[in-house]
C-alpha cells in the first residue's frame, strides 16, 4: 500500500499570493508589498518581524532543490517555519525539471507558493545553470514552469524572479514564454546579471517589459532600490507594475512598508524576541541583522564599533542590556518605541 502524503497547502483569500497581489489595491488601497529572498538573512525570525510592518508576502532565502530532496541535514538547516509564517513563498535554486517537481511535492504542503530563482548572480550558482543563468536558458526555464503547472494547476502558485537582459526585448520574449508556460506572476529585478547593486536599478527596463506583456494578464512585481515608501510609490508610478518587492531596504529597515524611513526600535525588539524564541540563528547572522538595523537608526559610531566586537550571543545580550532599554515580551512598552532607547537618556 502506498503512503498518503500531505498535499499542497490549500489556498484561500488569506494566503493565496496571486489573490493578494491582484486585490491589495481594492482591499488596502495600495499595491502589494513583498519581502524578497536574501541569502542567509530571510530566516524565520526576520520574516516574522517583517509581517508586523505591512509586508503582505514574504520569501525564504533560496533553497537548493538538489540538496533539499537528497539530504535531511540540508532540509533541517535550510527551512524552518511555523503556523504563523504565512503567506510564504519558498524560493528555489534549480537546474532541472526532476529536482523541481520533487522539491515542489515536498515543500508545497508547508508554503503558499514557490518562486524559481532566476536572478542570483553568484558565479558558483551560474556555473551550475542556477539563478540568473536561467534567463539565458528560456527553454529549460519554461519547461520547468510548464511541468509544475501541468501537475499542480492552480493548487500551487509558481513565480519566477528574473533579471533583465542587455537587450530588453530578450526579457520580453522570456516573459512571454513564461506566461505561455503558466507562470502565476513575474518579479523583475531591474539589473542585468553583471550590474553591480551600487548602480541604480533600471526602472525604464521594468516599465518597458511591463508594458510589452500587459495584455498577458500576468502580474509583474518590480524589485530593486526600494528603501522608503517614497521609493515604493515612485517605482509603482513610473513602471506601472502591480507591486514592489524590497530586499536590502528591509534588511536595514523591516518597517519601511509601514512608512518608517528609519528602522524603529520596536522592530529591533521584535527581532530579538523572535530570534531568541525560535532559536538556531547563528551569532554572526544575529549580529549582522542588528548591525543593519542600528546603522539605519543612526547609532553613534563608537557604539557601533563596540557592537561589532561582540563574539557571542550571550555577550550581545549583556551589551544591549548595559547600553539600552531592551524590553521583553510582557513588559510595558514592548515593541512600541521608535527611537533608540539608550539607557543613558542624555544620548537620545
Amino acid at each position: 500500500m502506498s503512503n498518503i502524503y500531505p498535499r499542497a497547502r490549500t489556498l484561500t483569500k488569506k494566503n493565496d499570493p496571486l489573490h493578494i497581489i491582484k486585490t491589495r489595491k481594492i482591499t488596502h488601497n495600495r499595491a502589494v508589498t513583498i519581502a524578497g529572498p536574501m541569502v542567509r538573512y530571510s530566516k524565520l525570525p526576520f520574516r516574522q518581524v517583517c509581517r508586523h510592518y505591512n509586508v503582505d508576502i514574504v520569501y525564504t532565502p533560496m533553497i537548493l532543490a538538489r540538496e533539499f530532496v537528497r539530504n535531511c541535514h540540508a532540509r533541517m538547516a535550510d527551512f524552518s517555519s511555523n503556523d504563523s509564517d504565512t503567506p510564504l513563498i519558498v524560493q528555489v535554486g534549480v537546474n532541472n525539471v526532476t529536482d523541481l517537481l520533487r522539491f515542489v511535492e515536498m515543500v508545497s504542503p508547508y508554503c503558499d507558493g514557490i518562486g524559481i530563482n532566476c536572478g542570483c548572480p553568484i558565479k558558483e550558482q551560474i556555473r551550475e545553470g542556477i539563478g540568473s543563468a536561467l534567463i539565458y536558458n528560456p527553454e529549460l526555464l519554461s519547461s520547468m514552469v510548464s511541468a509544475v503547472k501541468a501537475k499542480y494547476g492552480d493548487t500551487v502558485r509558481l513565480e519566477t524572479k528574473i533579471r533583465i537582459h542587455d537587450d530588453w526585448d530578450q526579457t520580453v520574449a522570456l516573459c512571454n514564454r513564461l506566461c505561455d508556460a503558466g507562470v502565476d506572476w513575474i518579479t523583475i529585478h531591474g539589473r542585468t546579471r553583471t550590474t553591480r547593486s551600487s548602480v541604480p536599478v533600471n526602472l525604464d527596463a521594468i516599465k518597458y517589459i511591463t508594458e510589452k506583456i500587459q495584455d498577458r494578464n500576468v502580474p509583474v512585481i518590480a524589485n530593486g532600490d526600494c528603501f522608503t515608501m517614497q521609493d515604493f510609490q515612485n517605482i509603482l508610478d513610473y513602471t506601472g507594475v502591480d507591486g514592489v518587492m524590497a530586499v536590502r531596504g528591509l534588511l536595514d529597515n523591516p518597517a519601511l512598508f509601514s512608512g518608517h524611513d528609519k528602522c524603529p526600535w520596536s522592530a529591533l525588539e521584535l527581532f530579538w524576541h523572535y530570534a531568541m524564541e525560535f532559536g538556531g540563528l547563528p551569532h554572526q547572522l544575529l549580529l549582522h541583522h542588528l548591525h543593519c538595523m542600528l546603522e539605519s537608526m543612526g547609532l553613534e559610531k563608537r557604539l557601533h564599533n563596540e557592537l561589532m566586537e561582540m563574539k557571542t550571543t550571550a555577550q550581545l545580550i549583556d551589551w544591549f542590556d548595559e547600553k539600552f532599554v531592551l524590553k521583553r515580551l510582557g513588559e510595558a512598552g514592548f515593541a512600541e518605541a521608535t527611537r533608540i532607547q539608550y539607557k543613558n537618556t542624555s544620548k537620545v
Binding site: M76, D83, D99, R127, L140, D166, E277, F278
Partner: protein, 180 residues
C-alpha cells in the same frame, strides 16, 4: 533491467563526454561565441545538459572549463527521502513561539539517539535554549542548564574544538549566579 541499463548508459555517456572534454554550452547573448577571457575566469553562463531526465542527472561546467556530472537521484532514493521527510521529520522544522520551553531539552538528550550531543547542530540547539532563558532573565533555570551542559560538553572528544562553546556557557553561568 531497462532501468539499470539506462543508469549504466548514462554513466558511460558521462565518462565518455568527460574524456572528450566537451564543455557544456554557454548561453552568450545573441548566440555569439564565448569571448577570449585572456586568463580571467570564464564568466560565460552555463546551460546544463540533461543526461537523464528521470533522475535529474545533469552535466555542468566547472570554473576550469571542464565538465562535471551532477549525479541523479533514482526514484527509489527519492521515495525514501520523501518518506523520511513526511513520516519521520514530519515536514520542515517547526518552531512556534514557546516551543523551546514547552519541554526541557535534557530529557530528549537522554532519550533521542538522533539528538546527539556530538553533533554541532544539537549543541547549537541546546545553547539556543540557554540563550532564550538568559534573554528572558530566567537566571536560575539558565544557570542549571548551563551547569549540566558544561559537564556534558566537557567530557566530549575534541574538547578543544568546543572551547568557545563551553566558554560562552560558563560566561552565562557566572552572570546568572551573580544575578540570582
Amino acid at each position: 533491467m531497462f532501468k539499470k541499463l539506462s543508469i549504466v548508459l548514462s554513466e558511460m555517456i558521462g565518462k565518455e563526454l568527460q574524456k572528450l572534454q566537451i564543455t557544456a554550452p554557454t548561453a552568450v547573448e545573441n548566440g555569439a561565441s564565448a569571448p577570449n577571457t585572456c586568463g580571467r575566469p570564464n564568466q560565460a553562463v552555463t546551460k546544463p545538459i540533461s543526461l537523464d531526465s528521470t533522475t535529474g542527472e545533469v552535466m555542468v561546467r566547472k570554473s576550469t572549463g571542464k565538465t562535471k556530472i551532477r549525479k541523479g537521484q533514482s526514484t527509489e532514493e527519492y521515495e525514501s527521502q520523501r518518506e523520511h521527510f513526511f513520516e519521520v521529520e514530519k515536514g520542515p522544522v517547526c518552531t512556534p513561539e514557546g516551543w523551546m520551553t514547552k519541554e526541557g531539552p535534557l530529557p530528549r538528550l537522554d532519550s533521542d539517539p538522533d539528538f546527539d550531543i556530538k553533533l554541532k547542530q544539537t549543541r547549537q540547539k541546546l545553547t539556543s535554549h540557554c540563550h532564550l532563558l538568559y534573554y528572558r532573565k530566567s537566571y536560575e533555570e539558565c544557570a542549571q542548564l548551563c551547569q549540566v551542559l558544561i559537564s556534558r560538553f566537557d567530557v566530549l572528544e575534541n574538547r578543544k574544538k568546543l572551547e568557545k562553546e563551553i566558554q560562552e556557557l560558563a560566561h552565562m553561568l557566572q552572570r546568572c549566579k551573580s544575578s540570582i
